[in-house]
Symmetry: C3
Subunit: 342 residues, 3 copies
């Protein structure tokens, strides 16, 4: 999306708390990759590996590491190019401000409370008694159920579903297709039928949480499924009823967390890992991709595999396993094993 923001190389350097080298008066209108940047754009050299691409880049200016030897362009030398990239992205692309607007096709139930400068997109539905905070954007086709509460400065991308009575904090971003507050998966066997256990609890999402596209978070049976503040959740993640995720944790795409499990703070769970039900994961623990966590995990551990175990142990076992076919052949040849095949 276009924005009309322009900044000189000198001013951009100042915003990054350094001085520019070369023509500081050059005007920049955006940031792009080394390969694509044009004369009106700045690009970032992240390491010396990028030197050739940097020299060949069409960028109008470069943000470079302290020791970069690049000539012919205005340069902004920084200690930490990755951080400078982030800051420059944010300078050119601040979070979008939505206009204050209720689209005429949006449908509001009785008793809905809307804050100031709310945006409701085309065909958005907000049911009876729901509360929408100040400057929050509910995009086209979203559904906000009865009595749900959404805080200030939130953004629900198109097509998000929020079931009744879900509580969402401030500055929460939810991507398209996410479903918050669906029924927990629980049945009681009676007379050979599965009888649905009513899930009458809710979901509580803390401040600064981001939730990926098509992710599902189920409501608790009696209490709350809780996502604490600053938790970041990727796409297509399943979080079951009565789960609790501690603040600052990172849940990568396609992870599944079963019912009643408690995740600590600053935990990282990599792609497609599963944690079974009613487990407890300690703070700062890291769980590798595709792990299957079957036990409680203490704080500060690194685990991988199914069933998950300390990553170092698993790697030693995998190295040994790769040798196993030839080891068995050797043992048989030496007569140590004569019962091959048993």
């Amino acid at each position: 999306m276009l924005n009309n923001f322009h900044i000189t190389v000198r001013d951009l350097a100042a915003r990054l708390d350094v001085a520019a080298e070369g023509d500081g008066s050059r005007v920049l209108a955006g940031i792009a990759s080394l390969a694509r940047a044009r004369a009106s754009e700045v690009a970032v050299v992240r390491s010396t590996k990028d030197a050739a691409a940097a020299q060949a880049s069409g960028a109008g200016a470069l943000i470079v590491p302290q020791d970069a030897a690049i000539s012919g362009k205005p340069l902004i030398r920084v200690e930490d190019p990755k951080s400078a990239l982030f800051r420059t992205l944010t300078i050119f692309h601040p979070p979008r401000r939505y206009p204050s607007d209720i689209h005429p096709t949006a449908q509001l139930g009785p008793g809905v409370m809307l804050g100031k400068e709310v945006f409701l997109g085309e065909h958005a539905v907000v049911r009876a008694g729901a509360v929408i905070g100040n400057r929050t954007a509910i995009e086209a086709g979203c559904f906000v159920g009865e009595g749900a509460v959404i805080g200030d400065d939130c953004r629900l991308h198109p097509g998000v579903t929020v079931y009744h009575a879900v509580k969402i904090g401030h500055r929460v971003v939810v991507h398209s297709g996410a479903v918050l507050g669906g029924d927990g998966f629980g049945y009681l066997q009676q007379n050979g039928q599965h009888c649905k256990i009513p899930h009458v609890g809710d979901v509580v999402i803390g401040d600064d949480v981001e939730i990926g596209a098509n992710t599902t978070i189920d409501r608790a049976m009696l209490d709350s499924t809780i996502i604490e503040r600053d938790v970041k959740i990727g796409n297509i993640v399943q979080i079951s009823h009565d789960v609790m995720i501690g603040e600052h944790s990172i849940i990568v795409a396609q992870v599944g967390i079963a019912g009643g499990t408690t995740i600590g703070k600053h935990v990282v769970i990599a792609a497609q890992a599963v944690i079974i039900d009613h487990r407890t994961i300690g703070d700062h623990t890291k769980i590798g991709a595709q792990s299957g966590v079957t036990d409680n995990l203490p704080a500060n551990t690194f685990v991988w595999g199914t069933p998950a175990q300390p990553t170092l142990h698993l790697k030693r076992q995998l190295v040994a396993l790769r040798r196993l076919p030839s080891v068995l052949r050797t043992l048989a040849r030496r007569g140590v094993l004569d019962d091959i095949g048993k």
Copy 2:
């Protein structure tokens, strides 16, 4: 969601087929957890482990196991607290009855047949020739394709997509974002291109099925993808074309079942398991989380792992594998293996 249902402790006990102890005239307006319950609410003590929480609870009454020693509150002693919890939840939270209502923004194609007391939410779309049964609720933003048939007392939560010609039985619940009847995934290689194989079959969903949020069930090529009655499917599950799932089976979140596979009755498939195409799984078989089923499975088996094997076998192998690094070191030390590294 509030309901205005109230019941005395005495009457609640009677509904659970037992007698109350203590002040049976106390009025209860809801059920909550031991931690959260207030004086107007009943809570359930599931086992002696909950004794301290029970004694400290603010609940107005407690449902307790026969041998519980708790004083100072009206008690309802039961044989099976879990079952009593379920029954009490259902007493306070019976399935929601939707009003009979066609929202003015709902769009109906020609020849749609609506039963009695149908609810169509905001922006719901029902295409030509579709049939909606009595008391069925099609929530906001749902899409029901041409010629689809939905039975009585069903509930499609907001944003469900039902492609053309899909058949859904009675009392079926479908959660938000589920997609029923998308094309099967099949291509024929021709001249170096993938040519899409038309999938002209359908999907048939039996009575009392529940389908989780963002789950996808593809239509068959010529025949039907079949989900038999009382099957319960979690969130984000993929069920491919021409799959058949027998009655009373449980499919947990994020499972994938490939094309043409037949699942028996009363099968349980745990989270993120995959079953490859054209396999047959016997009745009452249980498949562990993240398993990769590559072979047919007989009835009444328990399997786990990738490739899936009897759980007991896999566990023995995993125990042996954990010893393997030290076993190889011992064998090398004793000169039995001199070719370490090969």
Copy 3:
């Protein structure tokens, strides 16, 4: 869905470049399976295993392999029944042509450019500056963001979300619930908080791509997430920011591809495999179901497992692992291992 197409057995055989046997004047109105076909329908016998079903079939005509011995029905003998099935499906079920129609509930932003004969379904939203090609169908409830570009002859099934500035080629099919162009998953740690890295790149989808239901494809940070032409993607797949997938590749359901990874041409990735970030996969490589790819892979390799390795190696290790418990018992019995348990 009904169509009113009819064809004689003789003409159908001619369309398949062969001659009919028996009553070539019989009129056929559709294709069905051997089990379900009626007198007005043709069915396909794929191999001699189907002989009994073929003889019992109610089909009005059969497409059979060259050597089939079936009597009493008009036959169409072909070299390749699978290919003939595909061609016959396509004859009876050509791709649906949508009427040229903009539904009155569809919402168009300023400056939208619509090609000829565009279909916009109920409650579809097309934002400012978006471009929709000729004969493209945007079904009910779809969202097309600001400045997105969609080519000719595309079909977006109901409820697809296309974020701003996403580019889609010609003849692309996107199934319901897919989300194209959501933000990449990337945060920078600052002062103990996760700061969202703006993702200001886009997604570029080539011609003839098909994208499954509830699949998510994230936008790049600075450049483009690229899906080249004729790539086919199943349901519930996660493709992260800055991924590149080469032409003709097949990505099966529930696969996850992490950020910055490049997939070659003609690659096949089976169900629920994960490829970690910033890896490169060579052309024509095949990755087994549930694999976890942690390294770059050369062209023309077959891998399986987590971590993925050549399938043949893994299978040998799995065979050896199954023997391991009894091998350890034998070694202990013979006194070669006395430190069992260590």
